[in-house]
């Protein structure tokens, strides 16, 4: 069992509890023990790009420092946490003034300078576990399912910093879907924004964004869409309607691995 520091984030402890529980259960089955970061704080959901913003980046900074001192890396499941932690980490590496200011609050010894690595669960699956091993672990292949992978923006951009996958032609979720025995559906809006937090500011505008994503996937024949982001799931289910199931990727993962209720390993 490989231990890895884990940053769950606020929503995975509340509205998206299944995302947390299923990600951990699947990880255990595939040889990883997620070790929750002590006293982690909410990342804030979005990285504030302005270079003079310090306070809004401290929660991420604390998590990163803890990860540095506990194995050297941190895994996330939520797209937003991934984006915030990784962009904050890059700020430590590229902006010494920012790093010095944070050190004045943090008082860590030695001062944090971006040493930790931030990885998403998809990256562990692709780069370490490997899709062949995942395929071999599948108990109930999702045969005949046409699944549209929804990347959205937070996993991919800015690509220079995140380096998660190709920003315009990503493949990791398609490969993931194939490993589970289903068929990935390619559609135009897979890497465009769902409307995000705009749902609280201008719901009608958010509705247009989500509807465009959903109809694009329906047009290409998808019967299900998967996401790693609770806000995407919300927008795509509450701000759009279509003949399409919207699920967390961990949900289809748990199903294929036989970890769901009624499954052999339940």
């Amino acid at each position: 069992m490989t231990k890895i520091a884990y940053y769950p984030g606020c929503t995975l402890k509340n509205k998206a509890r299944a995302l947390d529980e299923e990600a951990r259960a699947a990880a255990r089955l595939l040889g990883y023990e997620f070790e929750e970061i002590d006293e982690w704080q909410c990342c804030g959901g979005a990285f504030t790009t302005s270079r003079d913003e310090i306070a809004t980046k401290l929660a991420a900074a604390r998590a990163l420092t803890w990860a540095r001192d506990h194995g050297g890396r941190v895994v996330t499941v939520c797209s937003a946490c991934y984006n915030v932690l990784k962009q904050t980490n890059a700020a430590f590496r590229t902006d010494s003034e920012f790093a010095a200011k944070v050190s004045r609050y943090e008082k860590t010894d030695p001062p944090y300078r971006g040493e930790a690595e931030v990885v998403h669960w998809f990256e562990l699956l692709r780069d370490e576990i490997g899709f062949d091993k995942l395929r071999a672990a599948v108990k109930k292949p999702l045969k005949g399912r046409k699944i549209a992978p929804y990347y959205g923006c937070l996993l991919l951009r800015p690509s220079e910093t995140l380096a998660f996958d190709s920003p315009e032609n990503p493949t990791v979720m398609e490969d993931f879907i194939r490993a589970l025995g289903a068929e990935p559906v390619r559609y135009a809006m897979r890497n465009e924004c769902c409307g995000g937090y705009l749902t609280l500011e201008d719901r009608d505008a958010a509705k247009k964004r989500s509807a465009a994503v959903l109809s694009s996937a329906v047009e290409m024949g998808a019967d299900c869409m998967i996401t790693a982001c609770p806000l995407c799931l919300y927008n795509l289910t509450k701000n759009a309607a279509g003949p399409l199931e919207i699920r967390y990727f961990t949900d289809v993962l748990a199903e294929a691995l036989g970890l769901k209720e009624g499954g052999e390993n339940a």
Binding site: E53, G196, E201
Partner: protein, 128 residues
Amino acid sequence: MNKQDLKEEIVRMSGSAVEKCMRCGKCSASCPSYEDMEYHPHEFVYLVEKGDIEKLMASESIYKCLTCFACVERCPRGVEPAKVVEAVRLIVIREQGMNRLKPDDIPGLWDKDLPQQAIVTAMRKYTK
């Protein structure tokens, strides 16, 4: 703040090299919020470069940006328009009394499926 100071402040906060813009409009063509904005990403860049920033500050456009980074990704000149939009919005909401979203607004906007993430992210974007 006078025009020049305002421009310098925005350039400093965003780190954006607005003068590198060649006005191709690819940022705006990529922007999912295009139709809901009065000023579009390329216009943010242009007006900041000109120092004509008050009209951006007064526009609802600063609240329509999704921070989706499509404009950053697709700009061939590395201008990073999203960071310019964010800096203009921060200049506005950092003023006393200018928070766009207040905690008291949340109950009226809440529904049972709304993830915590939606609230914290909106508070981060619309509140100092």
